[in-house]
Symmetry: D2
């Protein structure tokens, strides 16, 4: 299968997952692009996503990263789940800011995959860096 076909399928997978995720509306997630082993997801920080310090809640940033991770780790059309993840926070994201999570595959071996997801703001600030471990469960995400 040509690379462009794999990328097209990965994009179709991200679109499919995006359409079925209950959090899509909750966080206003936008699918910014996807291909084999990678995906980009963005959102605009809203009041409903803040913590007690009135900046974006760490859990909402994690959700954004986790979503890009999910699209990327399912991009080979084998259903995969997050097993564990870690995140380091480096700068706050303010209300009104658009933040984008870019997930990139680091390794993929047997049933295990490792992904780095970087969240950046429009001015180029890195907001957080996430690392996720996925495990495939078998079954296809979309029909081929």
């Amino acid at each position: 299968m040509a690379n462009s076909m794999e990328d097209a399928r990965a994009r179709r997978i991200a679109e499919y997952l995006h359409s079925t995720e209950g959090v899509t509306k909750t966080f206003g997630l936008v699918m910014e692009g996807a291909g084999l082993g990678w995906a980009k997801c963005s959102m605009v920080v809203k009041e409903s996503m803040t913590n007690g310090h009135k900046v974006c809640h760490g859990g909402v940033l994690f959700s954004l990263a986790d979503n890009a991770f999910a699209w990327a780790c399912n991009s080979r059309n084998v259903i995969a789940f997050a097993q564990s993840a870690s995140i380091s926070f480096i700068a706050p994201a303010k209300i009104g800011e658009k933040v984008t999570a870019h997930a990139q595959e680091e390794a993929n071996e047997g049933r295990t995959g490792i992904y780095t997801v970087k969240i950046t703001a429009e001015d180029g600030r890195t907001i957080a860096v996430f690392q996720g471990l996925s495990r495939t469960a078998g079954g296809k995400v979309v029909a081929e």
Copy 2:
């Protein structure tokens, strides 16, 4: 200061943070209890919190844990922020299930604190385990 006074203040801090957090309504978070170095936060999983597999999104579970962690790491009335966190997922949480995050201080030294947060369902299943690293920024959370 007696322990009961510290616990009462910790409870007041959790109530204050809870009242100012933008995610309170988004996730329907309930403050289930708080004291010096610990806090409990619950929510009921709703359709708006699901991933593409129609179980609770990992980011929403992380948010629940992160919120209990925030209350616990601010419980000494010194403003503190999450620096990094990791989470391991062990069982899915279904729509309609009530899940509770229990944050407990493991260590607290200088400006750094480490907390374990366990998320459990009502039937006793462990859903996820979270570990957070906090750093104090100075300043009080509530007036004394």
Copy 3:
């Protein structure tokens, strides 16, 4: 099987693993106790374990925690491996100090286990807190 029998077997497993681990001599690891879902492992910090700041290297502390984790996650006599782990460092461990890692099971479901390991010094200081995710591979550790 009575609890005391399970604990005795867990102790036998830790002793067996301890006897086969190549790092036992490298770090001077001591098995301080083990039972179902828990284990304790100690070492004395030596010059050969230091980083450039002449305190115990973070990787050596991780090794100590990882070793207690390995004994604990194999304690049910099903061969298990570490899949991922995270560690937060809170205080340095000095040359000559005895440090002990205490691994405790947080959750155990299907093939997945989650463990918290706390490293403490003899004066009670917490040195680091570790969280590990294990996965069973099948097969027994010791004959029954």
Copy 4:
């Protein structure tokens, strides 16, 4: 300061740290290269580095990654320490294999830095992926 001068200083810092680390001999660590925000460190897996399954101990792999991370996060000549780190293991490293850790800066803001470290074997297999959070303490690593 030109980029090449910063890279030369980073290399001098890695060489200095390498010469003072107590674990250098313990693990047979080799400095394979360093520049501003990155470093490479290798070792050959020996019997003294194995776990009970006779493959490289997870803690020793973590140590290798942590060492490359230390060189990279000190590469701006401001003393920095690891605060937290996470690692995901994807394939075992066997006795006799040379494994190399490549640390790369993901973000650097104020006193905080985030680094990804990938450990690979000579045949190209990814062995583990590590993410570290550093914090500067002030003071220079080497004289300028």
